[in-house]
Symmetry: C2
Subunit: 427 residues, 2 copies
């Protein structure tokens, strides 16, 4: 079976003008890659009928499958159905089922139908309509040139619904074997170029495997890709390479593929019926926010304190004023007292603390921007609270220091929960 050429197209002035960052193309690409179908090009075009028509025809001449997002909706700048209707030489028509669903939805929510809403349930006549169970505008498919186009709404939750419910089942029927596979090992504790050095011999050892890297501080992801006649053949080629990579990387691998560190830590705590509290200074609620993204967070996450001021560190966490006075807020001693205080005051089994200088202001002599102290408090069998601390000096801007701090704290906890070697003192 010929290997399909797969592309994505995002439409919208808001995308090409940079008002929004398009995450839809990435979502579809990731889901397709998981089935061994690699996307080879992303395009974004403005809300402009001429540019859209030319772009759709161009992709139609080049690709076998294209996933389009945006331009289906109630407003004047939603042009996709018009453009497709013109290319196909058919009129637009209201889809009765989509209209019925919309009327029902609106009635339930107590909204009234505006004159614009009819536009969002109109599709080019004769196309295959894909019903929207996550919103209002239906999607549709059409073949243009040699390419099957999926036209989907741009609202991310709706787009994802269509990818999962309509696109993936279809590609599973079209290309049931797939053509390749990808395994991604996610690490924390290594720099990208030092990781790459460790894998310089991989192309020689595993000539069918492509090695790639992705650094998103403090994480570095190792990506092993294999294209083959089928997904199962690719996975067979990948297996020894993955085993060897796991051997070399050891405990620094925290997850694989779609896994994220906060999700992994959440799962480990849940499996152990353990509870966590946090005491955050320079990360300002980021650890809490990462953990509470997950449904069921309340099973493991008790809560915590964002103690930006020294007064709050004393008052809500019980950090002794003598510790703050002698060592300063950014010190291993304060990190230790914050973690112990959070465990103590909340009754949680584990507590994480962060205190540091996220920048760009706040540096003092001997305490530069990026200096961060992390604390992990845990309870012994006898009920005593012990604390382990770690110093880090992160590079980059404020958000990068905050992110690196939050994730490194979670990694401390992951290694502790799994009984793995601690993170090394130097980064």
């Amino acid at each position: 079976m010929p290997r399909p050429v797969i592309e994505t197209l995002a439409t919208g002035d808001e995308v090409v003008n940079g008002d929004i960052v398009d995450g839809n193309a990435a979502y579809a690409s990731r889901q397709l890659a998981g089935r061994g179908l690699l996307v080879t090009r992303h395009t974004a075009l403005p809300d402009d009928t001429v540019a859209l028509e030319a772009g759709i025809r161009e992709i139609g001449a080049r690709a076998s499958l294209c996933v389009v997002s945006g331009g289906l909706g109630p407003t004047e700048d939603d042009l996709t159905p018009d453009v497709v209707a013109r290319i196909l030489g058919v009129p637009l028509e209201v889809d009765a089922e989509a209209l019925g669903r919309m009327e029902e939805r609106f009635a339930r929510a107590g909204y009234r139908l505006s004159s614009n809403n009819l536009r969002s349930v109109s599709v080019p006549a004769g196309t295959e309509v894909l019903q929207n169970e996550a919103g209002t505008a239906p999607g549709f498919t059409a073949t243009i040139g040699g390419c099957l186009f999926f036209f989907l709404p741009g609202v991310p939750t709706e787009y994802r619904f269509f990818v999962d419910a309509h696109l993936l089942p279809r590609v599973g029927r079209l290309w049931p074997g797939g053509f390749g596979a990808v395994v991604q090992l996610k690490t924390l504790g290594w720099g990208e170029s030092h990781l790459a050095e460790r894998f310089e011999d991989f192309p020689r050892l595993f000539p069918l495997i492509r090695v790639g890297y992705r650094a998103k501080a403090p994480e570095v992801w190792l990506k092993l890709t294999c294209e083959a006649a089928s997904r199962s053949e690719a996975l067979a080629f990948l297996e020894p390479a993955v085993t060897e990579a796991e051997r070399r990387l050891g405990p620094s691998i925290f997850g694989r593929d779609e896994q994220e560190l906060d999700g992994i830590v959440h799962g480990l705590l849940r499996d152990r019926a353990a509870t966590l509290a946090v005491a955050e200074s320079c990360t300002g609620g980021l650890i809490s926010s990462l953990l509470t993204r997950h449904p069921g967070a309340s099973d493991v996450f008790i809560g915590g304190v964002v103690a930006y001021s020294n007064a709050l560190k004393e008052h809500l966490l019980g950090v002794p004023s003598s510790v703050l006075g002698r060592h300063g807020a950014v010190s291993p001693e304060t990190a230790e007292a914050m973690a112990a205080g959070a465990a103590n005051r909340t009754g949680a089994q584990f507590a994480l603390s962060v205190t540091g200088i996220a920048g760009p202001t706040g540096a003092t002599p001997g305490k530069p921007v990026g200096l961060v102290y992390l604390g992990l408090a845990y309870r012994t069998a006898g009920g005593a609270i012990l604390v382990r601390t770690l110093e880090r000096r992160f590079r980059g801007g404020r958000e990068r220091v905050q992110r690196a701090s939050a994730l490194t704290a979670l990694e401390m906890l992951r290694r502790h929960l799994l009984g793995l070697p601690e993170l090394e003192p130097a980064p």
Copy 2:
């Protein structure tokens, strides 16, 4: 002067495979749009020399300016300099200044140079080298076809440095007048289609202005675009339309263009030398996290409590157990007690609270997923703490409910600080 055709190109398997969402193209586009230069196409291609060479030649034949990100770095999958050297028919050479900077940087950080690092300071011979003050790999420019290409690193902090320090000054010299302008009014409190209905007459009233919408719940942005012979001419055409739009939208406009609600609230508090604390339940630290993104957050943000469990609501915020028992954790009474408790315990002048059901679990009879109560505590001249609460029923998944809750809480505070009418009870 002819209007330039401007495009962006992102390179990298991690982009087309969806492992990362490329925010670089959006950043350059936004910065260029602010100077009246509208980008008309984004493309992303994999780490593949054949695809990259074809893509760069294709853009060279079509565009006048292209901003490329990625593929400059130490690893084998960083192909851009090789591809450009091949297109130009020149060898790669190490840039002496970039090498010197890298050696200095590494020595300062105590890192050792790996054999791969020489790759990252190599550029096609004869190209204009752009020094990197935010990282290691230099950028470079080259003219291919009729197009000036800026080849920049893909690491976002480095990419942004090059856009600000190298790209924008150059385009300012190339097209000093610009060709258009964009004004974006950001609102909270309206749905997209009802907002659009209010502006149906705009194309007739202001025929030179293009009207667009962008919904990112709970925000809806109104975007007014004008293309003209120069940026100043475009701004003159835009002025009456912006004035009329402001009149129609009134207090629901919270900001313009690049402004974000959390930044605006931070600025308002700072101007008033006022302090804020938060008590978050279902938003799990998101409000804290939004506020502490801003340098100098500690001037206005004291901190707060993420009180996921009832015990923490009682213990750290002083919510009476009778209130929790009689009305439940998700109730206006609890939101009120949380806000008052946060103000009281931290001494802050203002406090925001959120309690609700972010979903997908946690719904009970009469309390559906998406039901959220928000509280705003403030102090009277006499020092008493008053609290105002608001009920909302947000639609969408967990992250959307959390985001909508956090931003609506900030909007309550913005309106209060500015003496504007309160948000209406129904959404």
